[in-house]
Symmetry: C2
Subunit: 149 residues, 2 copies
């Protein structure tokens, strides 16, 4: 293949972006909108659910969201009552962000829906192959972020 042409169906970033946008759109407009949440907010909540309370800077690393954007987003999430932001007792410049009961309740309802969209996307793909895809995506992320994580 000539290096000066790109076939879309063979160009990985295009394929990844397309699936990512499609997944976000479906789930975002359907389920998340009912909670006043954006997809980025959802990602923050998922990371908090999976990894527990986090400093904002770590949340940023895990969600690939800019620190300034995240600061304002956490303010909105707190105003909605899904998280609390409390100054760390040990280190007074750090802020710990943690889920509230309301946040956990919303996640309990949203996670099954998220899984259904995941299954919808993966329909017709053999479990072993799906696992291989996930492993490959993890490897790609590690390749692209040598220093981090």
């Amino acid at each position: 293949m000539r290096p000066s042409r790109l076939t879309l169906d063979d160009y990985l970033p295009y394929l990844v972006n397309r699936v990512g946008v499609a997944l976000a759109l479906e789930f975002g407009k359907d389920a998340l909108a009912r909670y006043g949440l954006s997809i980025e907010m959802w990602r923050v909540l998922v990371v908090l659910s999976a990894n527990g309370g986090q400093r904002q800077v770590d949340l940023g690393g895990l969600t690939s969201i800019d620190a300034s954007t995240l600061s304002r987003m956490v303010t909105r999430l707190a105003r909605l009552g899904f998280v609390v932001r409390r100054r760390s007792t040990a280190n007074n410049r750090e802020v710990e962000v943690a889920l509230t009961g309301k946040g956990r309740a919303a996640l309990r309802r949203l996670i099954p829906i998220a899984r259904r969209y995941e299954q919808l996307a993966a329909a017709g793909i053999a479990p072993a192959e799906l696992a291989a895809v996930k492993r490959a995506l993890c490897a790609m992320y590690r390749n692209l972020t040598p220093a981090a994580d």
Copy 2:
């Protein structure tokens, strides 16, 4: 696994988004910035390069970019000299967007760099497995967009 918990490394939308953002960031700040291009603009140019001149509405479908956003983006791309926007002669409400010579020249230089980032991401993944990943991503997109395409 309990349905009310999500393991990040097993949650497909998270993995896809993470790789997508990492790819866009690397390429966007490094190579695209020198041309005054954003990643979204790059995606538009790539689609034009792969599929030829397009109506704006079709560009939107292929790039997952909102029509109004695209309208303004094409204005900027035209001002930068990368594309031309001309009213279709057959159908006077349609607009055809096409690459200029300058646009094609920029693509000739950028595509090899894009491929290098793609290879960087896919390093250590066997060609057959990479092909399987691409097929899976295409299948996922089809699953998520039943009507379109």
